[in-house]
Symmetry: D3
Subunit: 327 residues, 6 copies
């Protein structure tokens, strides 16, 4: 990560800027006098900022695409309590000239470590059937490429490249830690459940550049996609091992996928009816909420208040304790 770079979260009022950012949400709009201006969003790994180029033309608008990197010259300005960028020039920069680590919340190396840890955990699963099944996912390079690039969502928690593998690996760490407290729980089944529950997200979402839903993602959802994927992997596992995967085992894995949202109104066609399904649902929820709350508190722009902005999807503000209360 470049040490001299001007990161978004270090900008102050009236900074002069000459730096490269990721562009998104570009719009060409007329102002009240009928003159056009270009509005866009600039981001790097530290956050994002709105930008405007006054007196812009159609040509400016078409000089780059959403998802491109652009070099911006301009100055920052406080606007409605938020910083914005007034650009004087915008110029596309090839991705090859950019240091990835400046733009990704998770650096490639961090993602590699997560993927390594994930494999390590899965290869220590005791059940031979489940270990073989896990292997079929791990050996599937296109799947793993997508699995390590995908976010866990397009808003809310882990909504950035690598977010999915980060969430899944952390879930596995939780399972390993608490397993001794619940001897009735089948930890192997839980670990596979962690891998599979959101695996359909690799096809539900598109994340080459901007995060969005694919058509099949929107129309079918990652639960239905994940079950179909499991059907294929079970066939592969049977070929690999030369013996049938117990139907009972596949049924329970599918049930974990199908029920992991916990309630019908959150999109699960059936509710959790096994110990492992109910455990995975609650652990998934715990990790998602803690990650989301933590990020909202850390990134909140309301720097003068003990409170974050109001978050309509959570129905609340969050409290940023003035400092550790017990020190």
């Amino acid at each position: 990560m470049s040490s001299t770079r001007k990161f978004v979260n270090t900008m102050r009022h009236q900074d002069q800027v000459n730096e490269v950012y990721l562009a998104s949400d570009k719009q060409l709009r007329p102002n009240r006098n009928g003159n056009l201006y270009l509005q866009l969003e600039l981001s790097d790994r530290s956050g994002s900022i709105a930008a405007r180029l006054w007196n812009a033309s159609e040509k400016d608008y078409e000089s780059f695409e959403n998802g491109d990197y652009v070099r911006i010259e301009g100055a920052t300005q406080l606007f409605q309590g938020n910083m914005q960028m007034i650009a004087s020039s915008i110029c596309k920069v090839p991705a090859s000239r950019v240091e990835d680590a400046d733009f990704l919340l998770l650096a490639g190396q961090e993602i590699d470590q997560l993927a390594t840890r994930l494999s390590e955990i899965l290869r220590e699963v005791k059940s031979p059937h489940l270990r073989t099944l896990a292997e079929c996912y791990l050996m599937d390079e296109p799947f793993m490429a997508k699995f390590t690039r995908a976010p866990a969502g397009i808003k809310n928690h882990h909504a950035y490249h690598g977010g999915l593998v980060e969430h899944v690996t952390n879930l596995m760490e939780l399972i390993l830690r608490i397993a001794d407290r619940y001897p009735d729980l089948d930890a192997d089944l839980m670990l596979l459940g962690a891998l599979l529950h959101d695996a359909g997200k690799v096809d539900e979402l598109s994340y080459e550049r901007e995060l969005a839903y694919t058509d099949q993602g929107q129309l079918l959802g990652h639960i239905v996609l994940g079950v179909a994927m499991l059907d294929k992997k079970v066939a592969e596992a049977q070929q690999l091992s030369g013996e049938p995967m117990p139907e009972e085992l596949v049924l329970q894995l599918k049930h974990i996928i199908v029920s992991h949202h916990g309630e019908r109104e959150f999109g699960s066609p059936t509710v959790p009816m096994t110990l492992e399904a109910v455990a995975l649902h609650h652990l998934d929820n715990l990790d998602a909420k803690l990650h989301q709350f933590g990020q909202l508190i850390r990134d909140d722009a309301n720097s003068e208040s003990h409170w974050t902005q109001y978050h309509p999807n959570l129905g609340r503000k969050l409290y940023k304790a003035p400092q550790s209360p017990n020190s």
Copy 2:
């Protein structure tokens, strides 16, 4: 159907009975004096009635299974406004000695007619891709055997053998009739949607004798099962026709299956987002409700009232108009 048979719905107070019925829900219970009696449910195609055999033994209890046919000697008695049977003897009868038509709401011949009509409609689908796909279902004999035997549910609407094919065929008839009023609707897609939306019920339910859920039915639901079945049929159709099924078409069919309950809280992971999906959802609902209301009104035991019993699942009584009000 035997003309001389004593059907359940013709029983009056203190009728002497010597007749064969289908047994279910048998229980051996002690009365207040510690003597055992046998309680069971007797049914035929006209309805069902509770029966008791006083001073019964373990041996009586084990002389037949739920789902067996039994010859009953006894007399009827009015109990709490409902008829019940006081049996003096109960004796198992082989299924081969029974006339099916006395016990099935839909006779085999009626089911055959429904299946024939279903095939006829599907073979007139205009889209070659969809026609081939339909053919793969129709040619699959084990599937069709189950499809024509399955109920559409275990309570509420069409909860009897043949109920599924009856519901699906009627849905197709509705589609054919209203298609001209909505030119934007793709009628072929709708007809396949009608076939597929509940096809997973052949595996969700068990219906050899008593109606119940299978393990996978309870844990996964017919939506998830139906999508998996479609994946297999698409592969077969591609082999049959030698050309690929358009992905877009498969996606839209799957969306119809996935969304046909209309709302997440009713078990659909995604809500209808195409014209055909929303149309199928509403037609499915219309047929189910009209069938259920009609049956509740016809079968209601409250013969002296304009009102049926209160139905908790509907949250209401139904009004049985004293006679056609406009005659």
Copy 3:
């Protein structure tokens, strides 16, 4: 409909326009420099577009009323992905100089055909009582004038002049088509129910120019208004025929009106408790939803996407299939 007219849905970026439109939602607003501009909505039968007249005065604002026709000179401009009109002059035009067919989604002739078909259907009702009752509505010229002009709502489905008669007539067509599938349904009662269920809307809404609620519409709703109207028509029918209308019949008709929203939370004081009431509720819903979805898909401005905009009242986007998937 004028063939040379510049319809709203044919406008492209930077078209020069000199054409007549229907004006609504006019507002005189200051821009950031304190100069006033006039903002308004322009529409014709093909759609609507926002317009602005820069450097406007109070006099411009008062030169026409909402609901007037105005001639616009100006040019179009793409703004936030939507087209807008920058007007250089706005000038009121008498309604007599305008061709109605350019502004109405349903031309007068189409509405006449719908009204004719509606009468035709009602006059073939078999029940003499119901036929007489229908006649009292059809003979009531002020009612029919309003009934054929009213929309079926002010937003959502059929929200344009003639929308009510279009919706009601289509509902009758559906009833005629599906009646043979449900022999227990009294089709005559259903047809009258279709006529009556929304008849109160002629007084609930105001639709001379802009669509809105009347005071009594807002305070009482069309269900209560429709029942009161039926009370009057029953009295007229009794006078016309010289014999009493069976009370049972009137009760069932009123129940259809009262319960047609299906659930209390949607404004029905009682839920459907007869076969005809539940059927009408579901058919009403089917026609409304199919009409609304169809219109949203056809009129969607997001021309480059497979998806319409997000519709908050539906809680979803709709999928515009790239093309007929099974061709």
Copy 4:
């Protein structure tokens, strides 16, 4: 009220009883040995008790109707914590031989006083229009006969003869008392609103003997019935006074009726949108709930506990304070 009478609420374990009660809910049922017994409910103004006549016959069952008075000989017995009556004989008694005051929660005299107070209040309404309208209800003898006999409901609050006039008169007393605290409220409109809001209950319920819903009550509800009744009374008032009733006034009265349940899910087609409508809704609720809670606490059978039984419709037990806590 007879001082020597054996009232239901004075019965103790193993009392010998020879007294007259009101009979309801009679059923002829077989016991486990096949012998028939007669089960019925006995009540007087102090409460009700279940009774059984062992070894009963069809003839016993037919010797009286629900709603008749019967003389009972027998003895009381504690059964599952509740008292029950074991009868040795049951014999019908003519209503003329019974003292009404022993059976009515409200004696005829009390009801007369309520009706007198109601008239008195309405005749002091200041608005001539509203006073005339009220007069048309008061002069309508069949209406007043029903209005003073009807309950306010068939369960929950004021569910006994005279309950409606008691509830309405108390509501008027509340309005008179609090009017000075809310000068914007039109007290006359409120008083008429109190009279009208539940007036439809005279036709919604049947209460000659047992309390029940009429067919039209169940199918239409008292709100729709009350608006129709008001339409007739307005016509009468116009004839009586020789001048038109202001439409605005009628509209606001109707709105009070239509919206008095406060929310759509409680059966109001529109929600309160005027000051008087929202006030009446809340006062109606206050009086109903206080009456219901008070009665449940006074009548509770759980005499050894601080808590009443659990009431599923309220979702709670009520707390019966051991004694006035502040004495």
Copy 5:
């Protein structure tokens, strides 16, 4: 209150203004040309208005704080149907130079009268225990200072200085008036309940200048704060009187506080289970809603319509009757 003052609610289009107002919500914002302007809210007791100072500087922004009084020179302008102020100068004015009565919805004198009435009522409570307890609140000067300054909320009803004491005193007036209609109600307990139910609001809200939540208010809520306050006051009362407060009495008072929102989803950990708790809940609701509806109708800016604006928190518009309908 100054008679010559230019009150906000008397402003018309293009009035020249030179007057003092309370400032809030100040923001320094760039316009589309990059020039800064200052936006703020101005208010007095008659209402509030948005204001803008074009070409403002950081220095203008820092020349006063939210909650300060400022002298404004400028002119009014109609903007989007609402009046706004275009200021030419803004200048801070010391609070000492301002007449309080011009800015407070309740003048100090009115608040004093309310507080006097409150004391008067509480000192006539008959129960010695409760009278002593009330005295402990009344004698607590810091509490009474806050209690008479606090609003009853920060939006919705009584959201202004003195609103809390106004609401509580009115509640007591209602209790005194209706007590004779409900002899089972313990009026003393009700009066104390009125005092205590919202007493926690003195710590839940901050209201020195702008109305807001305190940290503890947001994190704990006024119910939990009010119970803790009662614990302290009970200790004081025991010291004052030298005898223990009956536990039963304290329990019932706490229950009134805890349950006064009526339902769990409105923030009450338990629902009302005593007569007094259910009565207080309903009276609280009645007073809050009538106050809110009355104020929305009186203050509505939509002067040309019978209807107020749509209020999303109420889910409705309110009807402003054209004039008293029965005059």
Copy 6:
């Protein structure tokens, strides 16, 4: 635990029994012939069973109390698929003659180990303030006596003596295990939150013999009781340490208590707004649900089915996998 004892869960049809059990729910009831019988519930640590003594008298009924130990002679009988006991004699046994370990789900020794572990964990809290506060709870012997005897609820999860300390200690074990995965979480605050969140249950419930709610428990709930208890303990901690507890710290602890049910409709007056509050809510839920599901699966009586009984409070059956599916 006695090895020769006849435990409830080992009973088979027609076992002769002569053993001591805990009695509850005793009722004296007449059978259909008017003879009295005694019905009661018998339990030991392995489960519970219904029992009947035919031809019982008032004297039998009064010979023991609910919560006493009784020696039963009799025989078991299968009744409606459940075992029941037909007793021939019932005789009270002094508690001193009974081995506690036969009746408690958690033996005294197990509870002691839990309490020891709890103290150990709390004494390793790093924050001196929080450690002192914890000490005040641990030193409070009456509190600890109740805390180690109380259940965590009267139904659902941990509903037995010692259940509260078991639940709380397990929650602490989870916190210790997962703390390293969430560095932003203040683990000390979490550990105190675990201790405090349900501490109010020691007063909300009564559990000397049968499990029930206390009056204050029902009227106020354990959240309000727990906050009041914390206020006292903070005062003690300040005295103990001689220095003030930081207000911020107390506020955050109270917020954890107040919000730990997660949503208002589950009885939390405010929702979690800090990281620790949201974490504790989810972990509490996880432990409660896993414990409840595990116990329902282990104790289910439906021994021939893969499915437990339907649990209305969970809205589902649970799946008892036939055996570990991956072995």
